[in-house]
């Protein structure tokens, strides 16, 4: 355990805990677009920038991947932090002027018109989709490609990926809603990845409930009862409830 100070609160924390986690426990909100507790910190959006004073020297660091150290003093709302954060928001707004989440941040921080133009890009390259696909799902269907101003997230060779199981975790996590997922007539489409996957019909109610590829993927990894792959969650819940009811009063 180490002892550190965040916004005047002296706290104990496990060594190397990311600062953002400690702040969260204290009820201190640090804005972020690329951090997710289930994923490895990445430090790309820079929004969680805070000031760390160590041995009398203050510097700006990202709270999502800066590890707790003995004796450091952290300021999450100092003038310097707010100024830096404003610039970051302005830059994000210049790239993605139409993204709602960034417009809201701009509103909150009083960022008016971005000085660097108003781009209509929808992706901020936070990497949440890439990380969830490789770290949690394990499908590795998408990744960062190219670099510098050409950097983007895509499938290898920009063609429909064989690895994508259509789970939609990427679309779910995307902070700017840049990944659109649509289920139309038994097919799941993720346009950004040029992917379409057939959906499985529930053997009871007949509704489509999950991509076949995703169910196959889970089946190959976990030893689960067959009905999980045949019936939708609603029908399963109903059937379990009926089974419990049939037992009567025990």
């Amino acid at each position: 355990m180490v002892s550190l100070t965040i916004d005047g609160n002296v706290v104990q924390a496990e060594e190397r805990t990311p600062l953002i986690k400690i702040a969260e426990k204290l009820g201190i909100r640090i804005p972020t677009l690329c951090y997710h507790p289930a994923l490895e910190p990445y430090g790309t959006c820079r929004l969680c920038t805070v000031e760390v004073v160590k041995k009398g020297r203050a510097r700006l660091v990202t709270a999502c991947n800066y590890p707790a150290e003995e004796g450091i003093v952290v300021h999450t709302k100092s003038e310097r932090v707010i100024k830096a954060r404003k610039l970051i928001i302005e830059l994000l707004l210049s790239r993605c002027s139409k993204a709602k989440v960034i417009q809201e941040l701009a509103e909150e921080y009083g960022v008016k018109e971005p000085r660097f133009g108003e781009g209509d890009e929808d992706c901020i390259l936070c990497g949440l989709c890439v990380r969830v696909c490789s770290e949690i799902v394990g499908a590795n269907a998408i990744s960062f490609t190219s670099r510098g101003i050409d950097r983007e997230v895509s499938t290898p060779f920009h063609i429909a990926s064989e690895e994508c199981i259509g789970c939609g975790a990427c679309a779910y996590l995307c902070p700017t809603d840049a990944i659109k997922l649509e289920d139309i007539k038994g097919t799941r489409k993720i346009e950004r990845w040029d992917t379409s996957r057939p959906l499985q019909r529930c053997s009871i109610c007949g509704n489509y409930f999950a991509p076949v590829a995703q169910l196959e993927y889970i089946k190959n990894r976990l030893n689960l009862p067959e009905e999980i792959f045949q019936n939708c969650p609603n029908c399963r819940r109903k059937s379990y409830a009926e089974q419990v009811a049939a037992l009567g009063h025990i």
């Binding site: 490789s134 590795n140 269907a141 998408i142 990744s143 960062f144 490609t145 190219s146 670099r147 499938t155 290898p156 060779f157 690895e163």
Partner: protein, 152 residues
């Protein structure tokens, strides 16, 4: 495509995942670019996700996913070369070859590329032709180099 060549290259590095960059360099040396088929094959042989291999291949300027010409001309546009007139050299080459930077002539003889620094700034402006560094380039020198290249 002869994928056995890719197998040979991978075997040379003992199927070591960490050697992926060296493997890609060798594949490029063999085929003069990184063919999609070779990348997919190497990724599966090494059990590296294709996404990672593709990320690497598109990250480094030295790799090309498009077939390159027989000869490769690289113009350095780093700061030092830039202020010493590298842009003019590049424009001249583009004019003479009838292609833009990043393109290859229709007869697949010459590819023209740019790079952001070669770390030999004192020699600027630098043009690399098939691995040979030509320093202190001038318009006249460019002419004579192109003349030589046409004879090759």
């Amino acid at each position: 495509m002869n994928l056995v060549l890719v197998d040979d290259i991978i075997a040379r590095y003992r199927w070591e995942k960490a050697a992926i960059i060296a493997i890609l360099q060798d594949i490029q040396r063999e085929f003069n670019y990184l063919p999609q088929e070779a990348l997919t094959y190497a990724a599966s042989r090494l059990a590296i996700p294709l996404t990672q291999v593709y990320s690497l291949a598109t990250f480094y300027r030295a790799f090309s996913l498009k077939p390159r010409g027989k000869h490769l001309i690289t113009v350095c546009l780093g700061t030092a070369c830039h202020v010493r007139g590298a842009v003019r050299i590049l424009e001249k080459l583009e004019r003479e070859l009838g292609i833009k930077a990043g393109e290859t002539t229709d007869d697949m003889r010459v590819s023209l590329e740019t790079v952001n620094c070669l770390g030999a700034c004192a020699l600027g402006p630098i043009v690399v032709i098939d691995g040979q560094y030509h320093g202190q380039m001038t318009s006249v020198k460019t002419d004579s180099i192109l003349k030589k290249l046409r004879k090759l």
